[in-house]
Every structure is written in structure tokens, then in C-alpha cells.
């Protein structure tokens, strides 16, 4: 099964979808400018290289505990961020490294948090799953499946309460989409018209359980918004252009005071759920097919080369720059000191 065989089949047949997701969602010729395409390539490659390095450091014992890699899903956050404006918030689950890099948080700080060092974004006290940035409006980093959904709607609530035009991007997976609190949140987001984009990253597997085994009508999770009057689109989450295009529509909807919007991103994670997952629940061929035919980075690369917007050398240079950043981050992350023992008892209560 590829992204979703049913989904691809439907695309091929140009079937109309039942929700507001119209032919528009499948339009890929809206196109990105040269600068946008190059930026998307850079941002996605940074995530890819960062995650590869994180996987390597985990193998070396420098990163402990849980570590969930985002490899394969890069187009989702990068495309969404291309639509965001200053002050928009983002919040996600524990598979969060990509989201942080995409919104501009420093690779160094993220990596040092993975290794549990004092220079980590949470001073080494959060770990892979728990990082935040008030400056970049990144609200975590949450380890309880779907908890970020009402929390993210709360960020949107604050936007509405304050009367600003900002939008909260709330990311969750196909697994989280089965949690009851998601629907409690859909209900309130709809009745209160909260400016909130629910981004369902449907990577087909809730840990080791395929969506087809755990999820009713698993090939169209966005449609669940219909019951709450929330419009939705199903998007090829492996194509950054399609993501950006859909994000633009969703942002416009939210900013104009129309309430929440659902984007179901059909995507795929190449690695296991976490580092200790051998991914025996799917075939190597399935993964291989995704990588070869739908890789988000390769798609952009091919377009850049074909349209002569960049040369092989340009892209190699970019890759080298990124590798340098990631290597520097890793070097810092393993060399930096562990947090001081006194940090054990700090940050439990805020002093007024």
C-alpha cells in the first residue's frame, strides 16, 4: 500500500470527494516561485539530515529514551509553514523535531535537548518529546496522544479572545484521530469559530497498527469534521506544493473568522514509530515504493533540475551547507555539559 492505495486510486480516477475537498486540493500546478521551491527544498532537507543524524546519535547512545523521527513527512510542516505569518502558533505531538526546525528553531538547541544537555531548548529537562519556543510560537512537544489537539484549540481561543488575526496550526496523527478529545475539540472549535487548522498527518500507522486495522473509514479522516460543520480537504502530503496550496486556503478561511479547518495530509514515515520499532508490520517493498515514487524532497529536486531553477551543483552545495549545520549541532550536543544538579529543583513553579 502506498500513501493510501484508495487515495491514489481516487486521485487517478479524479473522483470527487464528499467534503469541501474539491478538485482544488489536487491541483498541483498552482506552483511555487523559484525562491519558494528552493526554500522548501532547503527546509525539508534540513529536517531529513537532522533526523538522520539524530538516528545516528541514538545508535551511539548519545540520545536516550524515546526518539521519533519525522523522515518522510517533511513536506507537511514545510508546506504549512510557507503559509504562516508572524504570530501564528504551532503545536504537535512527540514526533516534533521537524516542526521545530521548520518554524526556525535552532538545530543546535534541538539536538542538545535530544542529548539532554544544558544548552538544549528545555535545558535538558524535556527531551525529544518536550520542547517549546515562546519566540517562535511553538507550543510543544506533547507526549500524550491527542492532548495537543484541545491545547492547540486553546491557542486559537486566545487569538479570538484578543481579536487578532493569528491562526493556530494543530498537528496530530491518524492514531490520535481516534481519541475522544479530538471530537470534543472539533465541537467547541466549531461552535466558538476558533481560528484553528487541524492538520491530520495521516502516515497510515498508529505506532504498529495500520489505520485500516484501527480506524473506521481510514482513507478519509478529514471527513470526520463534517459532523461538526468543519470543512476539510485531503491533501497529498508528500507534495509540498499541494500542502502549501491547501494551507493557503485553510489560513484564509481561519483568518477571515470562519472558524476551524481540517487538512488531512496523506503522508508516510519511512522509519519506525520510534527508534526501537523494527517496523515488522509493513513490508520493505511498501517503504521502498514510497521512497522511490513519492519522496517529498526528491520531487522538489526533480522539479528544480528540470526547470533549470537550480543545478546539481547548487543542490550539492546546499546539501553540504546543511550537513555542516547538522554536524555542528551534533558536535555541540555531545560536547555540551549536562544540566547542573541544581536544575533538578528549578522551573517547577513560576515566581510571580
Amino acid at each position: 500500500m502506498a500513501v493510501s492505495s484508495a487515495y491514489l486510486a481516487r486521485k487517478a480516477a479524479k473522483a470527487e470527494k464528499s467534503t469541501k475537498s474539491s478538485a482544488k486540493a489536487d491541483l498541483k500546478n498552482s506552483g511555487l516561485s523559484s525562491d519558494e521551491e528552493l526554500k522548501a527544498y532547503y527546509d525539508m532537507l534540513l529536517i531529513r539530515r537532522f533526523e538522520e543524524k539524530a538516528g545516528q546519535l541514538y545508535g551511539m547512545g548519545s540520545i536516550g529514551g524515546f526518539c521519533h523521527l519525522y523522515i518522510g513527512q517533511e513536506a507537511v510542516v514545510v508546506g504549512m509553514e510557507m503559509s504562516a505569518i508572524e504570530g501564528d502558533q504551532r503545536i504537535t505531538s512527540y514526533r516534533d523535531h521537524g516542526h521545530m526546525l521548520a518554524c526556525g528553531m535552532e538545530a543546535k538547541g534541538v539536538m542538545a535537548e535530544l542529548t539532554g544537555r544544558q544548552g538544549g531548548l528545555s535545558k535538558g529537562k524535556g527531551g525529544s518529546m518536550h520542547m517549546f519556543s515562546v519566540e517562535k510560537q511553538f507550543y510543544g512537544g506533547h507526549g500524550i496522544v491527542a492532548a495537543q489537539v484541545p491545547l492547540g484549540a486553546g491557542l486559537a481561543f486566545a487569538n479570538k479572545y484578543r481579536g487578532n488575526k493569528n491562526v493556530s496550526m494543530v498537528y496530530f496523527g491518524d492514531g490520535a484521530a481516534n481519541q475522544g478529545q479530538v471530537y470534543e475539540t472539533f465541537n467547541m472549535a466549531s461552535i466558538w469559530k476558533l481560528p484553528c487548522i487541524f492538520v491530520i498527518e495521516n502516515n497510515r500507522y498508529a505506532m504498529g497498527t495500520s489505520a485500516t486495522r484501527s480506524t473506521a473509514a481510514s482513507d478519509h479522516l478529514g471527513a470526520r469534521g463534517e459532523a461538526f460543520g468543519i470543512p476539510s480537504e485531503q491533501v497529498d502530503g508528500m507534495d509540498v506544493r499541494a500542502v502549501k496550496d491547501a494551507a493557503d486556503r485553510a489560513m484564509e478561511h481561519c483568518r477571515s473568522g470562519e472558524g476551524p479547518y481540517i487538512l488531512e495530509m496523506m503522508t508516510y514515515r519511512y522509519r519506525g514509530h520510534s527508534m526501537s520499532d523494527p517496523a515488522k508490520y509493513r513490508s520493505k517493498e511498501e517503504v521502498q515504493k514510497m521512497r522511490e515514487e513519492h519522496d517529498p524532497i526528491e520531487q522538489v529536486k526533480a522539479r528544480l533540475l528540470k526547470s533549470n531553477r537550480a543545478s546539481e551543483d547548487d543542490l550539492k552545495k546546499m546539501d553540504a551547507d546543511i550537513r555542516e549545520i547538522v554536524t555542528a549541532a551534533a558536535d555541540f550536543a555531545v560536547a555540551d555539559a549536562q544540566p547542573d544538579a541544581s536544575e533538578l529543583y528549578t522551573d517547577i513553579y513560576k515566581v510571580a
Binding site: I91, H130, G141, I144, A147, G154, Q181, M188
Partner: protein, 463 residues
Amino acid sequence: MPTILMPALSPTMEEGKLSKWLKKVGDQVKSGDVLAEIETDKATMEIEAIDEGVLTAIMVPEGTEGVKVNAPIAVIGEASAQPSPGAKAPVSPASGETQKVATPSPQVSPLAGETVVRSTAGEGSLLSDPEIPAGTEMITMTVREALRSAMSEEMRRDKDVFLMGEEVGQYQGAYKISQGMLDEFGPERVLDTPITEHGFTGIATGAAFAGLKPIVEFMTFNFAMQAIDHIINSAAKTLYMSGGQMGCPIVFRGPNGAAARVGAQHSQDYTAWYSQIPGLKVVAPYSAADAKGLMKAAIRDPNPIIFLENEILYGKSFEVPKLDDWIVPIGKARIARAGNHVTIVSFSIGMTYALAAAGKLAAEGIECEVVDLRTIRPMDIGTVVASVKKTNRCVCVEEGFPRFSVTSELAAEIMTHAFDYLDAPVARVAGKDVPMPYAANLEKLALPNVDDVVAAVKGVLYV
């Protein structure tokens, strides 16, 4: 002749106001007719007739306040009987012909009228609070009014403060805590939520992450179990997990513990549960003055606060200082009554037993020092230990379950800090280790009472 008695309109109602008669003496009455309107402090309810006949007597004129439940209020005679205006009809309340009205949802239980001050043994010996400046004018206020005025004052002061919860707005509060607040602050700041604790607690917590200062009302803390993941994993831990970056200025409040006759799922005391969690502060006031001052402190605190109220105390009146900005600091206990023989430590409704017991024991020459913890976490163990070092004996009182409880923690702390000063093991009086039963006699057995405290005090004195 069926006698109509003042109906109980909620589990905890003891009296109410007969606000209006809709039938007059001599009127023909048939089953289903509305006879009168009864006002509790929660709502105005109609009573309907069950029997047919003629209203032959009205014993309680409209406008009467403080009419006791089960007091005879009218008589319906035979259809043919002549009305006898002004007829007295003394009837025993046990006549078995009480006209029952359909009561509202059992969990929305108002208390007796706020204007009626009920005296409680021991209350008179409450020490004046050292935090109140000398000469301050005191006004009588119920705990309910104190909570409302604290929230309203803070909402006037800070636009980022808002109230959300089930029935806080249009319904005027399931327990009338937020009565009138919708009118003053509007629906953007007094938000009615759907009955989805998990979801709205998450939304409120997210709003607090973004810098707003939500007050989340749980209709009771029993329902907060649906939301406890957000209270603990999201609200309490995020400051730490973010290395101090994120704040979560939020108050979770509502009635906690047993009310009356509402069964096992609506009667639990969660004080010990929340007090176990680093990152939370837990407040459980007894008096109206503390309820007001601590609520204002809680709303201004930059941390998540669990504010545990008690339904039985809502209608109880106390003296509250008339000050523009009355704040009681979180984390400070208070000596509610001074004494030299035994220290009694309690909080919230446990204080009613503690103070009443101290009053009884004083009559026997035993002088108890009563410490009201007020805040459970962080616990002011210093005040407790100082008292125990003086009295050398201690009884700890709470309504919650006895195992792994607040009183267990108190006993351990006292042992650690005052072991050499103790002349007897610390005694504990708590709720029984059983789910709350419904039957009146069993419920009474499951809760602590004044005699239990008296016995425990005598126990540590070996008398």
C-alpha cells in the same frame, strides 16, 4: 385533607423562600396545577399539585424567607368542602402526604438562603486574622458570595481573566457561584461549555499557555477526572518540561468532596490526589474570608492552581474584611483557635468538625489549638510543627479517604519534624475507606464527625 409541605428541591436544601402563591384560598385545584413558586438560592422552582380539591388554607404567606423543608404550607380539601380562609391546619410533617415536586438534576443542589446565618459550635472562637489590619470593617458574606466577588474583582482588574465551565453563564452557575457574572462581563468572558471536561480543560490550558488567565469551573471535581490528564500532564508539567519557558496561569475550581446523598461517583474528595503533583498548588479554604482572599491570590498566581471548594460550605456565612483588595497568601496556614493541650489540624469542611470538637472539649477543660491549613500544597508545615511543639499532641482531620491521604502526609511530616516533642502518636480522623454509600445512615457512618474528633483528642491525651 392533604397537607402540602415545603418541598426539598435539592439534596442539600434545608430551607427556602416561598416567593409567590399562584392559587389563592378557595381556588379549585387539579393535579398538575402550579400552586406556588419556591426560591432557593439556586433557582426559582414551581410546585405542582398532585391531589384534586380546593385550596382551603395557606399557612405561609408569600414572601416568607427561611421556610424549613417539610413545614406545612397549605391544605387542599375535598372539592365539595367549603373554603375556610385563614384556617389553621397544624399537621405533623410526618403525615406522609407531602406534595413532592419534580426536582431538577440531582447534582445541582443549592443550599439554604444566603441571608440566614447558621451558627456552628466553635465558630465564635475563631481568632481574628493577623492579616486583617486592626479596625477593618467586617461584612457578613457567604462562601458563595465571597468566591463570586473575588472572581468579579479580578475580572474587572485584568482583561485576560475569564471564566469557563458548564452552566456558568446563562444558567447562572449550577451552584450559583457565577450568578450575575454573565450580565457584567458578557459571553466572551463568561463562557458556557458543552459537557466535555477533557476537551474544555485542554482548551483552557492551551489558552493559559498563550498567556490568558482562565478560571475553569468544574461542576464538581468528580467530573474533573475526565480532565485530569490535562491538569497534570499539560498544565502542571509544562513549565518544567520547557526549561522554564512556558507559563500556565490557570485556576481549576469547583466543589470537591461529599455533598449530601449523591452517592459514590459524586462525593469524592480529591485533595490528596492533586496535592501529590509537583507543579500544582492546591488550595482548600474553609471560611468566606479565606475563600475570597485565596481566590484572588490564585487568579493572580502564575501557576496552575487547584481550588477546592465545598458544597456544604457555599451557603455558610462568615465575616469578611471590607477591603479594596483582600488577598490571602497561598501557602500559609492559620491558627483558627488557640489552645495548649492538643493541636487539631484540618482544612475545608474538616474545620467544622475540628472547631465544633474544640468547642465541646473546652467545656471539659481541654484547650485545643486548631490549625486551618487553607493551602494543602505547598503545605505550611512550619505552623503545624510550631503548634505541635507547644501542645505535644496532634489530631489531623479530613473528609477524604484515609489511605495515602493529606492526614497521612501530615503525620509523616510531624514525625519528621517534631518526633521528640510528641507525647502520643499523631491521630487521624478521616472518611472511611469505602466508596460513598447513598443510604442516609451509611453515608453518615462513612464521614467523620465531631464525636470522632473529640474521641481522637481524648485518645492522644490518654483520658
